[in-house]
Amino acid sequence: MTAAFFYKWRNVIHKISNLWMGISIFFIILLPLSIGLGLVLKSLPIMEDYSFSSLILSSEWSPSEGKFGFLIFIISSLCLTILSFIIAAPICVFSSIYLTQFAPNWLLKVMHLVIDVLAGIPSVVYGVWGIIVIVPFISNVVSPFINYSASGYCLLAGSIVLAIMSIPYILNMLIEVFRSMPIELKEASLSLGATEWETIKKVLLRQGSSGIIAALGLGISKALGETIAVLMVVGNMVKMPHHLLDPAYPIPALIVNNYGDMMSIPMYDTALMFSGLILFIIILLFNILSNLIIYRGKKKYE
């Protein structure tokens, strides 16, 4: 009975399913566009009243007085991202080389487990860990060591936590890059008389260069957007950071922290959405560029 029932409705189900699929696809295209549009529309008021350069280049931030200079937050975000990149990138490149060229198979499997779990740990947990471990370390050990007084809630703390959070993603992609290289390439280089290390340095890294750049680019875009963990350890003071141990105030933290005040001060909500728009655009650019590189790279092999 049921088979016959289904048979009769076969075409109807097919049509409904196609409709469902069509809606989903439409939705996928719609979503990023509406996000962009929404942010732009919400940011328009502040762009009408203030010039773009005064918003980006001024570091005077006093919303209640109508002063909206985002420089401190932009610089904070940039410094944070660059620093975490400096920490995470070499670690990931070195480790991916070791895992794919030198290490025994079981180590790679263990590493995949570690990566999976680390990637799944929520942002807030990393923040808590940062508060328990990194912040006191900086205030009790690093700060006296270099003779610079600091509470521990600073750029360095944010960068370290951010770096650790980025490692699973970047490392995963880099491992993929190296594993997708045909082993015959390594064989060809070795049979020319190159050593294993020379092969890695001069051949494999070159072959994988586009993939490596793409992976690092995606890592950067993730770091720019990371909110909670950084928020908890970076200090959140509206002052331009001049030193690694100075507190900083990246854009995501700005948005989250002032969510409550947003509606009570005029222009505040537009201002915050404007900063969100800037962040969105930068992240989108990195994202698109990195993905383009990856797609070009994949094409070569097909």
Binding site: S24, I25, L39, I91, F102, V114, I121, W197, Y295
Partner: protein, 282 residues
């Protein structure tokens, strides 16, 4: 010749140290979370709502957040599947011959995957103020759903892509239409991968804070209706941590441990289910 050897050895050791260092950090993070949180965990923490003055040292638990997080995560993941499942199947069954189109859609999915939760949260906030909506469970579900659907779609797509092309050809030659092939064959075949992707998205939904902060609000009560605000574990941890009272901070660590355990359990379950079902799906 010797210089080359020394250089090679040096780098090899350096790389090994870095690799084991990563594993060490991983273990260390879990160790610290467990150690700090363990002694503050109690049954009442899991089973009670925060009583008045919870954040100032009085009694109660984080049931509000636990339930809130589960509701949001479940709702969001279901939403993500509703949007994402047809797309993935579409890519791999219906459109498989339109390589450029499929490539573009995958590209789009990858872009969406890279958008951070704060952007989704901010956007949701913009929409909600425009529509004069209050923070609610439903808003949280929708926002988080949008956030995690690329995560689900990408993970599931990775698995479905590897299904042998011959299966598609064989199914077509049996006279199946696309819908039947998608759901009856491809979906069943990739059920283990589906579950893994589902749990992956679910785990992300539970742990995310930036997308719920504006949209789900916060409350000390377990949400009863979709229009109620809902607390989430990450936010609960955050607020407890902001309290000046030491014992509340300790409770925050316990809540962190709780959240971590939930995530680890999900990860383990995902692996177990994957290996168990793998035999049957084939």
């Amino acid at each position: 010749m010797n210089r080359k050897k020394i250089e090679a050895s040096f780098f090899r050791y350096l790389f090994a140290v870095v690799t084991y260092g990563i594993i060490f950090i991983f273990v260390y993070i879990l160790y610290v979370i467990f150690k700090r949180g363990f002694h503050s965990i109690s049954w009442s923490m899991i089973s009670e709502e925060p009583k008045g003055g919870f954040y100032m040292g009085n009694g109660g638990g984080v049931l509000n957040a636990i339930v809130g997080s589960f509701y949001i995560a479940t709702g969001a993941t279901i939403l993500a599947v509703i949007i994402g499942l047809p797309v993935v199947l579409l890519l791999n069954v219906h459109l498989v011959k339109y390589k450029k189109l499929v490539g573009s859609i995958r590209f789009l999915l990858d872009i969406l995957w890279g958008i951070p939760s704060i952007i989704y949260g901010a956007f949701a906030f913009v929409v909600m103020t425009w529509l004069h909506l209050q923070a609610s469970l439903l808003a949280g579900i929708i926002t988080v759903g949008f956030l995690i659907f690329p995560i689900f779609a990408r993970a599931f797509d990775e698995v479905v892509r590897t299904t042998a092309f011959g299966l598609l050809e064989a199914s077509h030659s049996l006279g199946s239409n696309h819908t039947e092939i998608s759901y009856l064959i491809y979906f069943k075949r990739n059920l283990p991968g589906f579950i893994t992707a589902f749990l992956l998205a679910f785990g992300r939904a539970i742990g995310d804070a930036a997308s719920v902060i504006f949209t789900a609000g916060y409350t000390d009560h377990v949400p009863m209706h979709l229009s109620d605000p809902a607390a989430t574990l990450p936010l609960s941890i955050f607020f407890q941590l902001s309290s000046p009272i030491a014992s509340v901070k300790e409770r925050a660590f316990a809540s962190t441990l709780l959240l971590t355990i939930i995530i680890l359990v999900i990860s383990i379950i995902s692996r177990i289910i994957y290996s168990k079902i793998k035999r049957y799906a084939l």
